[in-house]
């Protein structure tokens, strides 16, 4: 026990080791909990052939970590296969989802930032639009779906619209807030230098509000990613949400869990992407 403290381990490494330990314990517990009880009862072999392993071997309905690992590896090894319109590799499905998110999200940025600017710069517009924003903001993404399908009459465009409408509010609110709360003194600097409106918006307000806007964008990308999975589960066809739904349809929990992991990782990557962008525009004061 030559004192653990005497090891000079960096805090990051130490946190990593603890994470690893937690993971190991969780995986072990998971493995034990799902390892099944062995053959349940004597069964007519003819009959047993018609039954699944859950019924014949007492295998847990929940897959173990090994099953999930195997499934995940299977997907990652061949992510881009196409075996028909309804059976495509996980990479292709992710690409569909990301493309949809990108489309809806970019549209939301294009609307939210200018409109947010308008609201932020004009207290009148801010007050006039506030009731609408407050009502629209808390609407659940999936509540928009039937309306979108009904009016747009195209499920692809509808899911993009739902992304758009859900990603819009946090960005709009943050942009308006960021613009409205640009420090008075910076605006005064611009005023005393006779900076014209457009240049002021681009060189003073935008950089000043950028961290707040990026915070909104970061919230929005998280929402967009949440929404796309749900929307695709609903309208199906393609995308990672459809993939989950398809595997759920097959009651293939191992596939569902692997997709959950993949969805989580992609969501994290998107978040990190924006976190990095946020770091770029954040200024120390």
């Amino acid at each position: 026990m030559a004192s653990l403290a005497s090891f000079r381990v960096s805090p990051a490494l130490r946190a990593g080791l603890v994470s690893l330990a937690i993971l190991t314990v969780l995986l072990l517990a998971w493995h034990l909990a799902t390892s099944g009880s062995g053959p349940v009862q004597a069964m007519d072999p003819e009959y047993a052939k018609l039954m699944g392993k859950t019924a014949t071997e007492g295998k847990s309905a929940m897959p173990g970590p090994l099953d999930v690992g195997r499934t995940l590896w299977g997907h990652l090894r061949d992510p881009f296969y196409v075996k028909g319109a309804n059976d495509k590799g996980i990479g292709i499905q992710l690409a569909y989802s990301i493309a949809r998110v990108a489309a809806g999200y970019l549209a939301a940025v294009l609307v939210a930032v200018p409109v947010g600017f308008l609201i932020g710069m004009s207290p009148l517009m801010g007050r006039a639009l506030n009731p609408f924003i407050q009502v629209m903001k808390p609407v659940s993404p999936l509540a928009w779906m039937p309306l979108a399908l009904y009016t747009i009459k195209d499920s692809q465009a509808s899911s993009i619209f739902v992304i758009f409408i859900c990603a819009l509010w946090p960005m709009l609110i943050n942009t308006a807030f960021g613009v409205a709360s640009v420090r008075k003194e910076w605006l005064n600097v611009a005023r005393t230098l006779e900076v014209r409106t457009l240049r002021r918006a681009l060189t003073v307000i935008l950089p000043a509000a950028a961290p707040t806007i990026l915070t909104g964008m970061r919230i929005s990308i998280g929402i967009a990613w949440l929404v796309i999975v749900a929307a695709e589960m609903l309208v199906g066809g393609t995308g990672i949400g459809y993939f989950v739904w398809n595997e759920w349809n097959n009651l293939s929990i191992a596939n569902v869990i692997s997709s959950i992991l993949v969805i989580g990782l992609v969501g994290m990557a998107l978040d990190q992407l924006l976190a990095r962008a946020q770091r770029l525009v954040t200024f120390p004061e």
Binding site: N188, T192, V281
Partner: protein, 290 residues
């Protein structure tokens, strides 16, 4: 000076709406500033000094009256009147050079990139910050930031420099050096300057005239004190200068007692339009000029 009223504040008033009417910060305020002169304004907190400066800067509008600068009434901010803000107000996402260059491009929108940089570097060198051009405001000390603010104001070659307690947040040592620099620059360029300060010594060191404001609300200019100290005064030896204590005592007396009582006990013949001009002699206690 030839131009007695380069800046002419003519009967301005500023009122804010208040429950049951409005409060008047000041009204019927008159003040003239000759070209090339350094004027300090002192007065108690809340009397309306910043309001006057903002009106001069064009950042605040008056409720009454007007301000004439160089023969033209003010209607908004202008590149001719540079402001050095109390809180430096640097754009934190820009470097030192970027902040000054921002002002330079605003002044000369058509200037080439090279020229902009040349002018910006010159202004930075003027305040002694050469070598720190690429630092961000966050990497600078308070004094350095204020120097950048000064460089930014000077870089646009303004006709008037407006300063609202520019050094109040600094330690005594830094404040001293900056005061030296400002005085050096203003003397060498013949800059017309208007500065608000709470620091009596600062006013005595920098100002050609000191404007005394009474307490608000309905503040007014009680008097204008001419600085009798020699032009080549040095900051460190200031307190040895003859007449220094008399002047200082006069100012402090005003701040301690007269600023509060002035409104109710106005001296005979007091005319808001022509506030009395005090010319203290170097030995005597200050007295009203004939």
């Amino acid at each position: 000076m030839a131009d007695e009223r380069f800046i002419s504040i003519e009967g301005i008033a500023r009122r804010y709406p208040a429950p049951g009417g409005s409060t008047t910060v000041f009204e019927n305020l008159w003040l003239g500033i000759p070209r090339g002169e350094f004027v300090c304004m002192i007065g108690h907190s809340g009397c309306g000094k910043t309001t006057v400066l903002n009106v001069l800067a064009g950042l605040d509008a008056v409720s009454d009256g007007e301000v004439i600068v160089d023969g033209k009434p003010i209607d908004g901010p202008s590149l001719d009147r540079a402001v050095i803000f109390q809180s430096h107000a640097l754009l934190p996402w820009r470097s030192v050079l970027g902040n000054v260059a921002f002002a330079v491009t605003s002044r000369w929108p058509k200037a080439s990139r090279v020229e902009v940089e040349k002018r910006a570097r010159a202004a930075i060198a003027l305040v002694g910050l050469a070598g720190s051009e690429h630092k961000r405001p966050a990497e600078l000390s308070g004094g350095m930031k204020q120097r950048v603010g000064i460089a930014r104001a000077l870089s646009i070659e303004p006709k008037i420099l407006l300063m609202d307690e520019p050094f109040s947040a600094l330690d005594a040592l830094t404040r001293g050096t900056l005061q030296d620099e400002v005085r050096r620059i203003c003397l060498s360029t013949g800059q017309t300057s208007f500065m608000i300060t709470h620091d009596v010594d600062e006013a005595i060191y920098l100002a050609d005239r000191i404007v005394l404001m009474t307490n608000g609300p309905q503040a007014c200019v009680a008097e204008i004190v001419e600085n009798p100290l020699p032009k080549d005064r040095a900051r460190t030896g200031l307190h040895h200068a003859p007449g220094y204590y008399a002047l200082r005592n006069h100012l402090i007396d005003f701040l301690v007692t007269r600023s509060a009582s002035f409104r109710d006990a106005k001296p005979e013949g007091y005319d808001q339009r022509h506030p009395p001009l005090i010319r203290p002699t170097l030995n005597d206690t200050p007295r009203q000029a004939a």
